[in-house]
Subunit: 312 residues, 2 copies
């Protein structure tokens, strides 16, 4: 299958590398000059489960991709705030058959994609893999994970296309499952990001360290309840207990992990995706007349930390 | 006047030093061995507005004060969580004429004092002075400030006693004012501590740095509203706008200051008084059926930070 991976930070690198290793045709595009330079020169370099690996793939800046190139799938793995510009820049490379697959953290990305593409083209899901950029030219890939996706609009041919996508990703070792309801899954993953990413970033700790603090469970429950309340207004009936369990299961599975938001702000002094996670719940809660004080305060706090650090 | 200063940390040292310099009879008592050792050996040592000063006063461990000593005033300036044990230990030194003056951070201390003393003996207020313990044997006293107090129960002789206390403190250069309603003043000061102490501790910044962040005002307003809501249930009608202004005026007056909670947790790795500040609002809000999510989450977050640092 012919893939364009749009955004080859840590997670994009995992997907591009695995897809390429499985024999797919992979091209990558990125907006960060320093990263792009190393991709062009040295390819995708990573430590994959303890082994140093390199894969050479065509790499382009997001405004320099030739307009005549076409892909079966454009896989979006940018940071949330970069998605809209990325879609705009890649629009010339889409035709009616191109599938747009978004596995990014954050809620509401399908609405951004649907501004520019037909809903039938959009495939949505999330990933529980971890990935960490150790340097602009190197990524660390450890821990076990999985991903899941589905078509956004029911019917054919998109249901069959979703199945095909799942098969290709699964064959590439990305442990991919077909979802019944992709938006449910995005909200459920949002609960992980809205608790562990946000709190581990504020407290500069990993998942396991956070898990051992005396108020961790109470904070997780309150945040998840707010995600569920906003989800309910959008037709998504999140099971709060199951979602809390899903969050807390991460302690066991990837306890030593520092979440991507920690990597962004604490490690690389970059502004975070919090507006697309807790901030989504806060702003949409407000729209629906719901109180979402935990998500609101956590969003304000992450921005306060960004401000104090002069994050870029 | 014959003072016993109970708790000679940073703030206790300021008061003991100034009262002694103004010619009062001052004795001090403290529960921290290392501090006490230096008080006994070297006296009250401080940098007061740029000048190194020393005053020698009788100093006792809080369980070793001779029972036959009597004082006109016992001035409580311990940490909140140490107050009850301090009162118990000093009970033999109280007679019916001894005034108990509490100028500590935190809400509800008069209830602790009234468990052991008659309400008529209790005088309540707060201080806007700053003080910082640089070492167990040295305190840094800079910035301008003031304090205020009143009798808790109206009537005589306590109203006259309160006036006398104000005069003595004012004469000692502590810029003391008589309050109309001491509990109003305690809640109003609580707004300062519940915003600036807590948030500067979480973000490890000073007041001015915090003031420049983009969400500072919004967070301050929400926290002050919760203090006001709980205050209203206790008969205290806090003026929210005025209290917010009072909080934000601190940026101008003592912007370079790192609050006492920061000093406790960030600098000295000690557990904080948060349960007596935001935690008071959270727990009493719950009792009154009020929602106080900002104070609740902030309390949980400070405890999380304490847990992660293994603060003592």
């Amino acid at each position: 299958m012919k893939f364009l991976v749009a955004g080859v930070g840590a997670m994009g690198t995992r997907f591009a590398l695995k897809l390429k290793q499985a024999g797919n045709d992979v091209t990558v595009v990125d907006g960060w000059d320093l990263r792009l330079k190393s991709l062009k020169k040295d390819g995708l370099c990573a430590n994959l489960d303890g082994q140093e690996v390199v894969e050479h793939v065509p790499a382009y800046g997001q405004t320099e991709l030739p307009n005549n190139l076409r892909f079966d799938v454009v896989l979006f793995l940018t940071k949330s705030m970069q998605l809209e510009q990325m879609v705009k820049d890649l629009l010339p490379n889409f035709d009616d058959h191109t599938m747009a697959l978004c596995l990014m953290n954050g809620i509401g990305h399908e609405q951004t994609l649907e501004k520019y593409l037909s809903k039938e083209q959009v495939f949505l899901g999330n990933t529980m893999w971890t990935a960490q950029m150790t340097r602009p030219d190197h990524v660390l890939l450890e821990d076990d994970g999985s991903c899941e996706l589905s078509n956004v609009v029911p019917g054919e041919p998109q249901a069959s296309q979703a199945k095909q996508l799942v098969e290709v990703l699964d064959k590439a070792g990305l442990k991919c499952h077909l979802l019944a309801d992709p938006r449910y899954s995005v909200f459920r993953k949002g609960c992980v990001n809205g608790t562990l990413n946000t709190l581990c970033t504020l407290f500069e700790c990993n998942l396991e360290e956070f898990s051992k603090t005396s108020h961790a469970h109470k904070m997780v429950v309150e945040v998840v309840k707010e995600f569920a309340a906003v989800g309910a207004k959008e037709g998504i009936n999140l099971d709060v207990d199951e979602a809390v369990h899903h969050v807390e299961d991460c302690y066991r599975v990837i306890g030593a992990h520092y979440p991507s938001m920690y990597q962004d702000l604490v490690k690389n002094n970059r502004r975070t995706e919090v507006d697309y996670i807790n901030g989504y719940v806060a702003s949409h809660g407000k729209k629906y007349g719901l109180k979402t004080p935990y998500c609101t305060l956590l969003t304000q706090e992450v921005h306060t930390k960004e401000d104090l650090q002069h994050a870029k």
